[in-house]
């Protein structure tokens, strides 16, 4: 079961890398929620930088073509650290390290874009694993020009 959970996390990153947003959302439960957080030592507060339910994510993805976005490909490198299964339910808490690299379209220079950790909640039903919740806790706070696509 652990390998199925790990593969779900890896697959979610591969699909986002490929801008297969429909495929990404298909991995998620109907009550999926995605949050990006970062702690600011400057104001000594936790900050929410993105917080969407599944409908919000879908809308975000659908409006992307209407916006002016950086076309540079982004590559997510993820390592699953821990998978902790609930003792009383078909759920698992997954902690993974995430590094995101951006490759310039012109010339192909790759640079580190962001590092952080993914805190995923995965549910298992009918032999299928699905992403119920994702919290990305970013260590990187200077994201340069930023991104329209969640990491």
């Amino acid at each position: 079961m652990r390998s199925a959970v790990e593969e779900l996390v890896y697959r979610s990153c591969l699909l986002l890398d490929e801008h297969d947003f429909g495929g990404f959302l298909a991995l998620c439960t109907d009550d999926f929620r995605y949050t990006v957080e970062a702690f600011s030592p400057e104001i000594r507060k936790n900050m929410i930088w993105l917080d969407h339910d599944k409908a919000g994510m879908k809308s975000l993805f659908e409006t992307l073509p209407r916006h002016f976005s950086d076309p540079s490909p982004v590559t997510r490198h993820v390592t699953v650290y821990t998978v902790t299964f609930d003792t009383d339910g078909p759920r698992a808490a997954v902690v993974s390290a995430l590094q995101v690299f951006r490759t310039a379209l012109d010339g192909g220079t790759t640079s580190l874009f962001a590092v952080g950790k993914l805190y995923d909640t995965v549910v298992m039903t009918d032999g299928r694993v699905a992403l119920a919740k994702r919290v990305l806790r970013l260590a990187t706070r200077d994201l340069g020009i930023g991104s329209h696509v969640p990491l």
Binding site: S40, I43, K45, T63, G144, G146
Partner: protein, 399 residues
Amino acid sequence: MPRTAAEWNERPHFPRTHYVDARIYTDWDIFREEREKIFARTWILACHESELAKPYDYRTFRHPAGQTLVIVRGDDDKVRAFFNICSHRGSTLVNAPAGNARTLTCAFHAWTFDCRGDCTGISRRKEGFQERLESARVGLRAVRIERGPGGFYWVKLEDEGVSLLDYLAGALGVLEPYLAEPLEIFHYQKVRLRANYKLWHDTNSEFYHDFVHYFNRVTGMQQPGYFGRKYETYPNGHASVGSMRVRYDQYQGGTDRIGWPGLEPGGWFLVDLFPGMTFNLRTSVLRIDTAVPLAPNEVVVELRGLGLRSDTSAQRALRIRDHNAIWGPFGRNLHEDFLAVTGQGVSLRDDWTDARWLLHGREETNTIHDEVGMRHFYAEWSRLMGRSASDPFVDGSAE
């Protein structure tokens, strides 16, 4: 029709107030001179009072003139600013960007200072300095600081000169009715961009670039009232933009916003303050930009998002949602603004520019796509620099 090299370099057929020489964005001598003649002499927004809520809270600030400051709320509740350097050997006094400390201790040789800037401890003083050094002569370097509208603290490196109120010259007047309630910061981000600081402030000073923002086109430009928004200019290079009713529901997935006390639904005021600060009250959130130049082609933009201190957790969550939708690191507009301005930074780069002139020539009776905000900025810039922004090196090239 494409132009030859000679034609490319010809001055635009506009009044000199309506374009600038691109070298003002790339030249190192001009950059150094800006630090001395502009940033060291003008009031600069450093932080908000909610970043220093309790006695002994401190906050560091990299000043656009180059110095690093530490701002401290004293035991007497007074907020003071100092150079963030130890009087002994110039080491950085406070390393964390914020914290709370009754004593500021230099880690290098353990000298200590209090929240009023007094030196309170010199390690092994008698053994080494005997009676030759008095603590009173090695206090911290104080910096003028004043609290402005909305509870923001502003600093000025010069001991003399105009008050903050005189410097603002009424520019924040359009916002003051909405800044009466105590505010609280919920978002802070520093972003390092490859672009000149003025290019960032230019972007905040003109709305013609709404063409880059799909969000602003459907919720603003295509709605009644947009082209009626007017610029007002104020002494010292400041400008403001009047409000309209933004239709957030016109964007897919958009909803009405929580609003702001006294502000009309969907209302949006913006004030640009010379030389690089912007107050942007957009319906439910106040955003503050402070540009801190590091080099001709490098700027750190400090971005703050604020709500009301009286917000319930549910209200605050809505303000954060509204903020992030367009202004967060993954928001619709911020990324587009950054792409646009760093696109300028590619052609106007380190000590070189492919662009020759930048046009600020739109005249639309001071309404939203008029470029009067930028023209007003560069008139003040030229005055303080003693150089014309359109002819900074008096090179005598033909009109």
